[in-house]
Symmetry: C2
């Protein structure tokens, strides 16, 4: 550290040439929100000067804008379906050089081994990947997860400088009732110097005060202006989320003005590979925000300096001496397409081309083999039979592109005393098959909104315990789909007439693909085409929507391997009314 | 920690009453810069709610504004002439509940013992006193100090949660030339999680880049708009200083606007007890700023949230759940006179009256006796004789109310080959008598600006090594003054015709008074009256000005115990041209 600092200072003082100088750039200054023409001098991956400098290497920015690398303040990498080293590639192509990630998904499957796998994979990647420790594994007592993490499991990770604190505390009731497990985690992580993220879905100002008292300082679950303002007023950092399913930017953006923006930042939370590749990551948030009228420099400040301040990242988030040389070049500040991207002074994208040789391969991670695979009891023909005592039932109604569902009361048809799906009424069967501990649990329910005309869709990505969730028009296709996923070690599948139409294996914990990002993307396209063939509602992503129908910490009616779950009473419930 | 947090959460959730509720206040929200009417619920000294709450005790704010306690981002407590527990009283009366202090003065006298004395004294006081560790003891090799502090001496203090980092790094050349001592300090403190303050007097943007590269992130030495903007552009926090001598607020304030203000805060740096009592501390900065046109809520935000963010103080600087209950009540947001002041929920000022019983006495500090006293060789009649080889001399010219001096070339009169002061020309003699190590060093020079007609003024407060500095119209009074201070263990004195006109003993390290703040203030008034009688220039404080004529890290001509010192060549120089 000392020798490198001495080297940096000498080049800052122009007593030695810098390693690299970016010349002829229009540098975006996020402190003053001005654009200045200055050389950027870089040594040992750090910026050492902004002015006129000479370097051993010179990169000609040719009048392009030089923008600090964007920061995603909260993302579950697993939700992209890619492991960190492939996720990083896609992010970097979009100018995102730093992410704060919560390996909540893999932790629910594989506990500390899963977290360690993610951290180790991330460390080999030319990108800043910081970790927040999953606070809620398992997320509730009403589902079966692959692991259970206690405070001491989490605190042991805090020695790693890339681990920043405790991720989204999502069980409001547990905090409010000072349950020992969550209090121990909060106290332990704070004592170790960490910060604590919140997850305050649907929470009132008075309840927010409970969270704030506990030391929780961020939230990414606000969905309207009132909620956004309430969070800012109580000192929360407002994470404006724009992911694949949850799209809150349009509603929340008006809260960000000259006064409040400093505590606003952007996050993707959960975003699939296809959306990341096609529309982008935080750069997409910026484009949306700018289109909605936000000053581009204010938007960039939110996505860089503000996010860095939120996590007390002292050397990230700006182009200035003493900061890491993380930035991207772009021709204009409205579309923000990144042509060249640098991380710690290393060019990772050149003229739009990723420098693939800088990235590790999946097989190089020693923790990969330690990750558990599928561990379910065998299924039978009757596994998905849903006997009902009455025809009046609770139905999960999908709200397109939202994590929230409605509870409907519908009248259904029975066949031999069991629920019979109705394609006409769009009342399909949904099941969650436990896959971690051979409990044999299968939760069953009825869902409206998918509009499938044939077959079944299944995925081993199902928040947050990631059992296998399947929706179908008939039991035989549902059975085929789940059994196929048990064979492949997890994945996403579309089935018709007991034949596989498309399948993406997700052999890394049943969550992430071992393929490259491009191949994974192609597989997903085939899956989407297959879903279309099955008649799936084209207005939302059926697989991702399916994967959130199991998320019990979000209103209203959900399904876990233990059965139907009502958020408002926070308890399991019967299908019959 | 856990039990207290559980207690706080229970009261936040209204399951138990809060310890204290402030009702009927107009609460200043520094996150949104809005004023809201809300109860403030407090438990265990922390705010747990903002809304409608019940408490075991209720305090009726009766419509007054409730403002977060103000923060002084950089102050040398010793410069008030008071030890921390008396300084705190004066600060609290002005709504200042948090200071970030650099015990640089006592450290130059007493090293680690001095720092420990200050920390221990501070801990007993109902105020938030955070310490930055003196980076420059001794400040240069061109003066004799009482101690020398190495990196390991400093790093050992970082275990204390009230120690935040490394204080004002002031030797630019040492940083730029990567001298081992300062690099070790910076690296050591950063590795321990600390922040690093700067002191970038007269430093150009290119030189600032060197500081920034080293990890220095604040500066309080900007004196004009260009300098202020250069600091903000490079990511420095701009500390806008308004002290007793250095008054930069008027010149710097225009740089603070909606965009830049978030990285601006106020500091006093060095402010005497009389000014603190009479005009105030950071509250005075706010009044000046508001008078100059700054929005009061933006000004308050700078003095609270921004200062807290600068030092990553997560639970200070706002009135919100999870923050310390530090605030004051005031009738209007323009004059900001504090009627009632709370620190950690404890009322320390009630209706303008300090709650004296909450404060410790000077004698209760075990480190007090360990502090060194005067340690100088005896003086003689000839001690202040200044033989000159020529009548053409360099003269220190005072710039009123500035730390900077000019170098003048003047022709002087000799008497028996030695300099003879001229009252008419205002060319007086100045001497610095070494008092730490019995070196016998006496630096001698000529000064213009005091306008003394008789006698001598002397002080054992003389930045930064705090030898005894004396200015006089004749050697006999100068000798009397210095000998008297050696007897009293240090202090400030005015002498005429070898008689003491007034004297304030500063027996705590020769820097701080053992009297209460009120008595110290009265002594100082007597000293000022005495200076007036001696004909001193009424446009500036003669004692304080005297105490900065020894500060070699500020331009241009200064005097140390080793002799005359030129800043621009950073070397000792002769009096003769």
């Amino acid at each position: 550290m000392t020798n490198s600092l001495i080297h940096q200072i000498k080049t800052a003082g122009k007593r030695e040439p810098a390693d690299l100088v970016i010349k002829n750039g229009q540098v975006v200054n996020v402190f003053t929100r001005r654009i200045t023409t200055a050389d950027i001098a870089i040594t040992d991956g750090m910026i050492v000067g902004l002015g006129a400098y000479e370097g051993k290497k010179v990169f000609d920015a040719a009048g392009q804008f030089v923008v600090p690398g964007l920061i995603d303040g909260h993302v579950h990498i697993e939700s992209s379906l890619l492991p960190p080293h492939e996720f990083a590639k896609v992010s970097l192509l979009h100018g995102v050089t730093t992410v704060v990630t919560d390996p909540h998904e893999i932790a629910n499957v594989a506990g500390v081994t899963g977290i360690q796998y993610m951290i180790d994979d991330a460390q080999k990647v030319p990108m800043n990947i910081f970790t927040m420790l999953p606070s809620s594994v398992p997320v509730t007592a009403f589902e079966t997860s692959g692991a259970s993490l206690a405070a001491e499991d989490l605190v042991s990770f805090m020695a790693d400088e890339h681990v920043l604190g405790l991720a989204e505390v999502m069980n409001y009731q547990a905090v409010a009732h000072t349950e020992k497990e969550i209090i121990d985690k909060i106290v332990g992580i704070k004592a170790a110097g960490g910060v604590v993220d919140g997850h305050a879905a649907g929470i009132s100002p008075d309840e927010l005060a409970v969270y704030a008292t506990a030391g929780i300082r961020t939230d990414h679950e606000a969905v309207n202006l009132d909620e956004a303002l309430a969070r800012l007023e109580l000192g929360f950092y407002l994470m404006i989320r724009e992911g694949t399913v949850a799209k809150d930017l349009h509603a929340l953006l008006p809260v960000a003005n000259e006064t409040t923006a400093r505590r606003c930042l952007f996050v993707t939370d959960d975003k699939l590979i296809d959306d990341l590749l096609e529309e982008g990551s935080i750069d997409h948030c910026l484009r949306l925000a700018i289109k909605q009228g936000l000053d581009p420099l204010l938007a960039i400040q939110m996505a860089t300096l503000n996010a860095a301040e939120c996590f007390e990242l002292r050397t990230i988030g700006a182009i200035a001496p003493g900061y890491q040389a993380d930035f991207f070049l772009t021709d204009d500040l409205t579309t923000l397409a990144a042509t060249d991207v640098f991380v710690k002074g290393q060019q990772v994208v050149a003229e739009g081309q990723l420098q693939e040789q800088l990235f590790p391969t999946a097989s190089s991670n020693p923790h990969l083999k330690k990750l558990p695979s599928m561990n379910a009891l065998p299924l039978t023909q009757d596994s998905f039979s849903l006997p009902l005592k009455s025809t009046q039932v609770k139905v999960i109604e999908i709200i397109p592109n939202s994590l929230i569902t409605n509870q409907l009361i519908e009248t259904v048809t029975l066949e031999k005393g069991s629920f019979s799906p109705s394609i006409k009424e769009d009342l399909l069967k949904i099941a969650v098959v436990e896959r971690h501990r051979q409990t044999g649990n299968i939760g069953l329910g009825i869902v409206k909104g998918f509009q499938l005309q044939h077959g079944a869709l299944a995925t081993s990505v199902s928040h947050d315990s990631h059992n296998i969730v399947v929706v179908g028009t008939n039991d035989a296709d549902m059975l085929f789909a789940v059994e196929r996923l048990l064979q492949t070690g997890g994945g996403i599948i579309a089935v018709r007439d007991q034949k596989e139409l498309a399948c993406l294996p997700l052999a890394i914990g049943g969550l992430m693909s071992q393929l490259g990002y491009q191949e994974t993307f192609e597989s997903l396209k085939r899956l989407n085409a297959a879903a279309e063939k099955l008649g799936a509602n084209p207005h939302f992503d059926p697989y991702l929507t399916l994967s959130f129908l199991t998320l019990s910490v979000i209103p209203e009616l959900k399904l876990t391997d233990m059965g139907l779950f009502t958020f408002s009473t926070f308890s399991l419930t019967s299908v019959e009314t």
